[in-house]
């Protein structure tokens, strides 16, 4: 087996994990990075308070930061991939400096660029995203590899004072596309209407 293909046999499955984090009836504010994680949150149930990105690679974490600072009473969860996280690693430093307690960031790390042919990412080799986040000053950081570790991490992801960051090592697998709406103005307006009320889209 190629060393960089070890994620083919990781036990955790991304579509199972996402359903443990977000359900249709919760009140989380969810931002998802482009590609697989956007399809993941949609597979868990498309909802108005999901904002799945279709582009803007590297933007999921700073977008979650702006939202978390704007809505300090609401839990904001960013769910994104390892490739998307790698493109904007400086955002860990920016988040740490602002330190919003209501922000939770999850990287589903399958060590691949899933949308472009499953090429290996840097995390398949030497790069430790949790270490990067910790070194940037994110106060609560952990790596989740097993069901038991996921059970322990869920309350932290959903409730612990943050900012918190979890790298969940998930199996590299090709899954069905479960596409959210792709019109950006619609995604923005439905989110604002659900969060802020009808006057927000007048």
């Amino acid at each position: 087996m190629r060393e960089d293909r070890r994620s083919d046999s990781y036990p955790l499955r991304r579509r199972d994990v996402v359903k443990r984090i977000s359900r249709a009836d919760d009140d989380l504010l969810v931002i998802a990075g482009l590609g697989s994680t956007a399809w993941d949150i949609t597979a868990a149930g498309d909802r108005d308070l999901n904002f799945p990105l279709w582009g803007a690679m590297g933007g999921a974490i700073p977008m979650g930061l702006g939202l978390a600072l704007a809505q300090p009473a609401r839990r904001v969860v960013v769910i994104t991939g390892d490739g998307e996280t790698l493109m904007g690693m400086g955002s860990f430093a920016t988040v740490a400096m602002q330190a919003p307690q209501n922000l939770s960031i999850c990287t589903f790390d399958n060590e691949r660029y899933g949308e472009t042919g499953m090429q290996s990412t840097h995390t398949s080799a030497k790069t430790d995203l949790a270490g990067v986040a910790a070194a940037c000053g994110i106060p609560v950081v952990s790596v989740v590899r097993t069901e038991e570790e996921l059970n322990a991490a869920l309350p932290v992801i959903l409730e612990a004072p943050g900012p918190v960051y979890h790298v969940t090592k998930v199996r590299a697998e090709k899954l069905d596309f479960v596409l959210p709406p792709k019109d950006g103005v619609h995604l923005k307006n439905r989110f604002r209407q659900a969060l802020l009320g009808d006057e927000a889209i007048l």
């Binding site: 977008m63 930061l65 702006g66 400096m97 989110f191 604002r192």
Partner: protein, 182 residues
Amino acid sequence: MKNVRKMIAEGYGMDWWKQILGAFKEADVRQVAYVPDAGHASLIDACISDNDIRAIALTTEEEGVAVLAGAWLGGVRGALLMQSSGVGNCINMFSLAAACRFPLPLFVTMRGRWHEFNPWQCPMGQTANSQLNLAGVQTLTANSPEDVGPMTPATLDQAFTGGGMSALLLHQCLMPVKTFDK
């Protein structure tokens, strides 16, 4: 001639940034994201000291485009400060604001076009306006301190009520010339 040289060295007015701060307050701007520039130094200091404004230091300007999109999702208005070299760092991230029509007011201090000492500032300084326009950002240029007062609320309104990306380019003549002590 001596007076002209003095004006160039010191900049054509030092208090224009107060017009920007005042317009931010009037427009209820609550998040100000920035990568520093010497020309924005006083405004950044004032934003950090302001109890109603969250000043957000960025590692790269493109982060700011996404931060302000998130702020708007949460019902909060923001503005992004950068120098002209930062425009290039933002180009792909502008697609977030363009595709979703997020309001995005930018305040860009210009380099590379006015007694520039550092040639490395020239490529972005001389093309930032065109690149912004290509990316769909409407631009105004403040060529004198008197322009800043009316152009700042215009830039904010174009973003927040016009619903788009708008930039106020602050001419290098507004800032002291950077000579690196030469």
